[in-house]
Amino acid sequence: MKNTMTHLARRQFLQALPAAAALPLVLSASEAFAQVRLDITRGRVEPMPIAVPAFAGGSDDLKQMGKDVGDVIAKDLERSGLFRPLDPKAFLQDLSSLDVQPRFTDWRTLAAQALVQGSVDQQPNGQVRVAFRLWDVFGGQQMEGKGYGTDPANWRRVAHMIADLIYTTITGESGYFDTRIVYIAESGPAINRVKRLAIMDQDGANHRYLTDGSALVLTPRFSPTGPEITYLSYFRNVPRVYLFNIDTGRQEVLGDFPGMTYAPRFSPDGNSVTFAAALNGNSDIYTMDLRTRRMSRLTEHPAIDTSPCYSPKGDQLTFASDRGGSQQIYVMNADGTNQQRISFGNGRGRYGTPVWSPRGDLVAFTRYATSDGNFYIGVMKPDGSGERLLAQGFLVEAPTWSPNGRVLMYFAQSPNGGRTRLFSIDLTGYNQREIVTPQDASDPAWSPLSP
């Protein structure tokens, strides 16, 4: 079931990559550009001015592709809130001479700190080679450089990979641009909403629907290891957890339970799915090994235990339970032992949807504050300390982490059956952005970095 190789373009690209592979250009020593660094761990940072001209290309087609590649990279960097791509109209050096050698005095005049210079070339085998260099403008030094051989149809993905490498070079953190979002597309009246599984690139491109809306679907989550999603479907009016292979379209129900199964999430190794199962009104937490189909029960309590999520090491889980009188967040060992409450909120909040950060250092959550009637997205340490609220609204819910643990995406619903939309916000609490979707949207889930 896992890693079924298919004929999709995305897969072709992955297969092509080792052959044409990553050809480093000139990789200079790394001592010269310590000044072109962003520390993104310290709250709000001043966006770094960066110049991303169109990538050079020979033919008209390649010129257009080069322009599009530069555009996607600049937009990725801009949306991160950490970079300020300069207006190309202000550029002094033309593309053809830049392709020979950057005139750093020209770029210093624009106060650009970094310069991305690239090219797109046709290869004899029908592929294109997209190559770039990242320059430290003040030091006049190359910071990074790499070439990618790919099917021309995959230019967008290469652009995201280059943006990730730029982000990594300058921040020292892994990126999150070469990722996808699976979510629930919503349409129709609020009392009888049509909900469909949908998937798109992190920047909204390559949007498509995965289900037709005939069955109610909720809470999709990505596998950390393969092109697979787990989600809740009301297929034939029986709410059950399903697995869905994005590449093949193959679906299967997870396990055979007498009651509703819901709130699924993969384990970090992708080999298990943890979920809640309801029996006679009582929800408890289970996990199923996808290889052996063996099931383990992790909680056994008359309360509603739901929304389980593994820690990135897989040795613990966090979950929500109302066993203390109102819904709160708990952690436990992966075998169900040592269940400890971690959220308290001075008795004035209900907490749900805990999601462990990919770094392991934080748990993101939804909080309903009984004091003001608002919902919040926040984070706390896995021991419950250091709670910080990042986003607030009439109804904000269901945070999902970027794979580098620096950005959260969630959905926000307006009152009175108003619009439901996706937003992202940095862990610093700054840089809130709407993720534009063709229809209303909820339940976002961020993919890992594409392999």
């Binding site: 609020a190 009392i191 009888n192 909403r193 909900k195 109610l216 909720l218 809470t219 809740l232 009016n237 029986v238 709410p239 009651g259 509703m260 819901y262 709130a263 809640a276 309801a278 006679n280 009104g281 009582n282 929800s283 509603i304 739901t306 929304s307 929500a320 109302d322 109102s326 819904q327 209900r350 749900g352 949807t353 939804t366 309903y368 009637g373 009439f394 109804l395 819910e397 269901a398 619903q413 009152p415 009175n416 059956g417 909820s442 339940d443």
Partner: protein
């Protein structure tokens, strides 16, 4: 759901018409001047009302909805009385089965509300079983906050949405 709401609208309209007629003073006077009315026939069902074994009768006369308090799943006296009526009706028509839908208001996370809706539906089911309805005639399904009856963000609407709906098959 569409069908249920549709039936509900018809029932309400019908009730309004009946009330409208009954309140006309002229007719009351006319009746008063008549000879004493004939003794009521044993089944006093109005000739135009739904047949007692019909889904419409169950939904409108017996009542198919019970309400819940915020984040609660216990049944108050009014709900218990209504469910006693449902149980009586089910025992009277043994070929009928029920699916009980548990629903929640929008003031909770999706996943918690799925659990809460399941709890509410089972609360209704257990009450019916305690009244003598066979367990295999009653199924449950939780819709959490996915199928509200109304969409205003106020307490009146939220209270309406916190419900157990008995759907007759």
């Amino acid at each position: 759901m569409m069908k249920l709401r549709f039936l509900g609208v018809i029932a309400v309209t019908f009730a309004v018409l009946l009330t409208g007629c009954a309140k006309k003073p002229v007719e009351q006077k006319a009746v008063a001047t008549q000879a004493p009315p004939p003794a009521p026939t044993p089944p006093p069902a109005p000739p135009k009302g739904p047949a007692p074994d019909s889904i419409e009768y169950f939904n409108t006369v017996v009542g198919n909805l019970v309400q819940f308090a915020y984040d609660k799943y216990d049944l108050d006296a009014a709900s218990q009385a209504k469910l006693a009526g449902q149980a009586t009706w089910l025992k009277q028509y043994p070929n009928r089965t029920l699916t009980i839908e548990g629903h929640c208001d929008e003031r909770g996370t999706r996943e918690y509300n799925l659990g809460l809706g399941d709890r509410r539906a089972n609360s209704v089911k257990q009450y019916l079983i305690a009244q003598g309805v066979a367990a295999n005639r009653v199924k449950t399904i939780s819709y959490g906050k996915e199928r509200p009856l109304c969409v205003s963000s106020d307490e009146a609407c939220w209270a309406k949405n916190r419900r157990g709906t008995s759907v007759v098959q």
